[in-house]
C-alpha cells in the first residue's frame, strides 16, 4: 500500500490551507471522514483507489483540516463543507460521508442539491430518536472506546487509536481529542440539528450503509434517513461490522459502494 498524493487547498475566506489526499485513476470520489477520522491512509481507501480517483479533504479539527473553533453554527459548518468540496474539485462528483462526515455530506446535499451526483452515507449522524437514542459516545470510559466503535476492537485500536511509531504520544492524543471536540462542536449534545426537516431536499440517489453490529448508531436509522430523502435510496447492511465499517470490513464496504456507484 503506497502513500497517497498530498496537497494543500486554499479555501475561499479561510486563512490556513487545508490538506487533501488523492489517489487512483478515474472519476473523482469525495470522502468525508467520521469519528476518529483517517489518521493514516487505510486499506479501505486503498480498495477505493483501485477503481476511482479518491479525494479525502481533511475536515475541520482533523489533522490538516484547519480551525474548527471559528465555526459556531450549522450554517458555518455547511458553508465550510461546500467551500471545501468546491476547492477539492468535488462539485458534481459522488460523495461518501462517515458519521459526522455523513452529517456534513447530507447537510451540504440538502442545502445545495445540485452540487453532487450520488450520495453514500455510512452510519451517518444527524438524526435522533428519543425512543431509540444514538449512544452517547462522548460519555465513554477510555477502555470502552474500541468496542464501541468497532466489532474488531483490537484492529481499531491498532489502526486508529495507537500512535504510529516515532509519533509524539502527547500530540497524537491531543489530535484525537481535538477531532472529537470538532465533532462535539458540530453535534453536541444529541446530534439533532434539524436535518430531518431538510432531508427532503436531497434529490440525489443515495446509498445508506450500516454495519450490522454498529453499537453507536442503531441500524434502524438507515430507514429513517431513507424515508426522508427524496432521491431513490438503497440500504445495505454489512454483516459483522461495527460503526467504523471501513476498519472492520474494508473490502466489503468498498465493494458495496463501488457496486452502487457503478
Amino acid at each position: 500500500m503506497t502513500a497517497p498524493e498530498e496537497r494543500s487547498l486554499q479555501l475561499a475566506g479561510s486563512q490556513a490551507p487545508v490538506r487533501v489526499w488523492e489517489k487512483g485513476e478515474g472519476e473523482r470520489l469525495g470522502v468525508l471522514g467520521g469519528l476518529l477520522g483517517f489518521p493514516r491512509w487505510s486499506p479501505f481507501l486503498e480498495a477505493f483507489a483501485r477503481r476511482r480517483r479518491v479525494v479525502v479533504p481533511s475536515l475541520p479539527g482533523f489533522p490538516g483540516g484547519g480551525d474548527f473553533r471559528v465555526l459556531d453554527d450549522l450554517a458555518d459548518w455547511v458553508i465550510h463543507t461546500l467551500d471545501l468540496l468546491e476547492a477539492a474539485d468535488l462539485l458534481g462528483a459522488d460523495w461518501v460521508g462517515f458519521g459526522p462526515g455523513g452529517t456534513l455530506a447530507a447537510e451540504a446535499a440538502a442545502f445545495s442539491p445540485g452540487s453532487l451526483r450520488r450520495l453514500v452515507l455510512v452510519a451517518p449522524l444527524g438524526l435522533f430518536d428519543e425512543a431509540e437514542p444514538v449512544r452517547d459516545f462522548w460519555a465513554l470510559r477510555a477502555s470502552e472506546v474500541p468496542a464501541a466503535f468497532s466489532a474488531r476492537p483490537e484492529l481499531l485500536f491498532r489502526e486508529l487509536l495507537a500512535p504510529p511509531e516515532g509519533t509524539d504520544e502527547v500530540e497524537w492524543k491531543l489530535a484525537q481529542v481535538r477531532a472529537m471536540e470538532a465533532a462535539a462542536r458540530l453535534l453536541w449534545p444529541t446530534g439533532d440539528r434539524g436535518l430531518a426537516r431538510r432531508l427532503r431536499r436531497i434529490r440525489a440517489e443515495t446509498l445508506l450503509l450500516w454495519g450490522s453490529e454498529d453499537a453507536l448508531v442503531p441500524a434502524s436509522y438507515a430507514k429513517r434517513f431513507a424515508e426522508g430523502i427524496s432521491g431513490a435510496t438503497r440500504i445495505v447492511s454489512l454483516s459483522g461490522a461495527g460503526h467504523r465499517a471501513d476498519v472492520d470490513a474494508p473490502e466489503a464496504l468498498a465493494e458495496a459502494i463501488l457496486d452502487f456507484l457503478g
Binding site: 473553533r69 459556531d72 462522548w138 470510559r141 502527547v170 481529542v177 471536540e181 462535539a184 462542536r185 453536541w188
Partner: protein, 416 residues
C-alpha cells in the same frame, strides 16, 4: 485571615450499597433515591447550619451550584443566598457561584447577584465558575467546545451590565441583546468582589491575575493534594509580577473538631466515609468531554480535579473504599482537638499562602447536632487562633464593602 463556612448540601440518605448498585452520584443518579419529604428536613437543617455559622461570626457563608448531583442539592444557590440575605446580619454571602454559560441570557446572573447585593446591603461575593463537566456539559447539555467562549462572553457582558450607566446593545458571538439595562444594579461599586473557583489551569490563573480576581481552589482532597496546585498558582503570580498577597487565593478544607483526636475520629468517621465513598462516586465517563479542558492544560498534563476524582473512584475498585484513617492521613479532612486543628490550619494557610480559607464543617451525612458542635467548637476555640494571620501585612482587597451596619435594613420579626 478570612474564615468562610461552606455548605455543599449533600443528600444524607444515599444507601450503604450505593457504590455497588449505582454507577454515579452525578448526572444519571437514580431519582428514586430522592425523597422530597426528607429533602424538606435536610434543606431546613442545612439553612439552619448556615445561619448558625453566621451567628458564630464566621466571616462568610458560602453556597455553590450543582446539577443532577446527590452531594450538591443547590441547582440554584441564589435561592439559598436570598434566604440568607434576610436571616443573617454581618456575614458576607459568598455565592460560589453561578456557572455563567448556563444562563440564557447570562444577564440573569447580573440581575440576581445585583438583587442579592442590594437585599444584603452589599455583602455579596460573586463567584463565577465555569462549572464542572458533569454540571455544564452533561446535566445542562452545554457544548463543551463552546463552554469557555460562552463563559468569557457572559463574564464580559455581566461586568459591563453592572457598570455601564446607559442602556446598551450587545451583539456578541453567543448573546444578541438589543437592550441591556438590568434593574437593579449592585450596591457595591464598581461591582461586588469576583472570585473564580477553578481547577489547576494556567489560563485561569493568568486570567485572575489580569483582572485582579480571587482564585479559589475548591479541592475535596485537602491541603496535601492542593499544595502543588497552589504552588503553581503562586509561581505564575510571581512570573506575572504580582505580589504574594494571600488574599488573592482561596482554598477549601474539610475539618472536624472535637475535644480530642480520638473523639474526632469517632465522631467524623461516618460522615467522612459517607462523603468520600458515596458522594464522590462519580462515573469517569462524565469527567472529560472533549474540549472542556483546553489544549494548553491538556498538554501540560494538569489533570483537572474532577477527572482526578473520577479516576480515583474507578481506581478504588481494586483497593477498596478509603476509611477515616486514610482520609485523615492524606489530609482530605483535618481533624483533632481545637489546638491541634488550629496548629494544622495555620501551617496549611502559611504553606499554601491562602488568606481566604473555606471550611467544610458539615460534610457527608453529618446531622445538624454534630454540624453545630463542629461549627461552635471551631468558632470559639480554633478561629481565634487563626484570625490574625496575614492581617497586619496584607490588605484584603477582595472582600465585600457593605453599607455601614446602622444603615442596613433589619428584617421585621415574623410571627409564625
Amino acid at each position: 485571615m478570612k474564615l468562610l463556612w461552606f455548605h455543599l448540601m449533600p443528600y444524607p440518605d444515599l444507601p450503604e450499597d450505593f457504590k455497588e448498585q449505582h454507577p454515579s452520584v452525578w448526572v444519571d443518579i437514580d431519582s428514586r433515591l430522592f425523597d422530597p419529604a426528607r429533602a424538606h428536613q435536610a434543606y431546613n437543617d442545612f439553612m439552619d447550619e448556615l445561619e448558625f455559622a453566621a451567628e458564630m461570626e464566621f466571616d462568610a457563608v458560602c453556597v455553590n451550584e450543582h446539577h443532577s448531583n446527590a452531594y450538591g442539592l443547590m441547582p440554584s444557590p441564589n435561592v439559598i443566598a436570598g434566604a440568607l440575605a434576610r436571616r443573617t446580619r454581618d456575614a458576607a454571602l459568598c455565592v460560589m457561584g453561578n456557572s455563567l454559560a448556563l444562563y440564557n441570557p447570562p444577564l440573569r446572573v447580573a440581575e440576581e447577584f445585583a438583587m442579592l447585593d442590594c437585599i444584603s446591603g452589599g455583602r455579596l461575593i460573586a463567584g463565577f465558575p465555569v462549572g464542572t463537566p458533569m454540571d455544564t456539559c452533561y446535566a445542562y447539555g452545554t457544548n463543551p467546545s463552546q463552554l469557555r467562549e460562552r463563559y468569557r462572553e457572559a463574564h464580559d457582558l455581566i461586568l459591563r451590565a453592572w457598570q455601564e450607566p446607559d442602556c446598551f446593545t450587545w451583539n456578541g458571538r453567543y448573546n444578541k441583546l438589543r437592550y441591556v439595562n438590568p434593574w437593579p444594579r449592585p450596591l457595591q461599586r464598581p461591582h461586588p468582589p469576583i472570585w473564580i473557583p477553578g481547577g489547576g489551569s494556567v489560563e485561569t490563573w493568568q486570567w485572575c491575575a489580569e483582572l485582579d480576581y480571587v482564585y479559589a481552589y475548591l479541592s475535596y482532597f485537602g491541603y496535601k493534594a492542593g499544595e502543588a496546585t497552589l504552588r503553581g498558582f503562586w509561581d505564575e503570580m510571581a512570573r506575572l509580577g504580582k505580589d504574594r498577597n494571600p488574599f488573592r487565593a482561596g482554598f477549601l478544607q474539610f475539618v472536624g473538631v472535637a475535644e480530642s483526636r480520638q473523639e474526632a475520629l469517632d465522631l467524623y468517621r461516618e460522615p467522612a466515609e459517607y462523603f468520600y465513598n458515596r458522594c464522590l462516586h462519580v462515573d469517569a465517563r462524565y469527567a472529560a468531554p472533549p474540549g472542556y479542558t483546553t489544549e494548553a492544560t491538556l498538554r501540560s498534563k494538569v489533570v483537572s480535579q474532577v477527572l482526578a476524582a473520577a479516576t480515583r473512584s474507578s481506581d478504588r475498585e481494586a483497593f477498596g473504599p478509603p476509611g477515616i484513617e486514610e482520609i485523615v492521613s492524606k489530609g482530605y479532612v483535618v481533624i483533632g482537638s481545637p489546638d491541634e486543628v488550629a496548629e494544622q490550619l495555620r501551617e496549611v494557610a502559611l504553606r499554601l499562602n491562602v488568606g481566604q480559607l473555606m471550611l467544610l464543617l458539615q460534610f457527608g451525612n453529618m446531622g445538624k447536632d454534630l454540624a453545630f458542635y463542629n461549627t461552635e467548637l471551631f468558632a470559639k476555640r480554633v478561629a481565634p487562633q487563626l484570625r490574625d494571620l496575614f492581617e497586619a501585612e496584607w490588605e484584603n482587597r477582595w472582600w465585600p464593602q457593605p453599607l455601614a451596619r446602622e444603615a442596613r435594613a433589619v428584617p421585621r420579626e415574623v410571627r409564625a
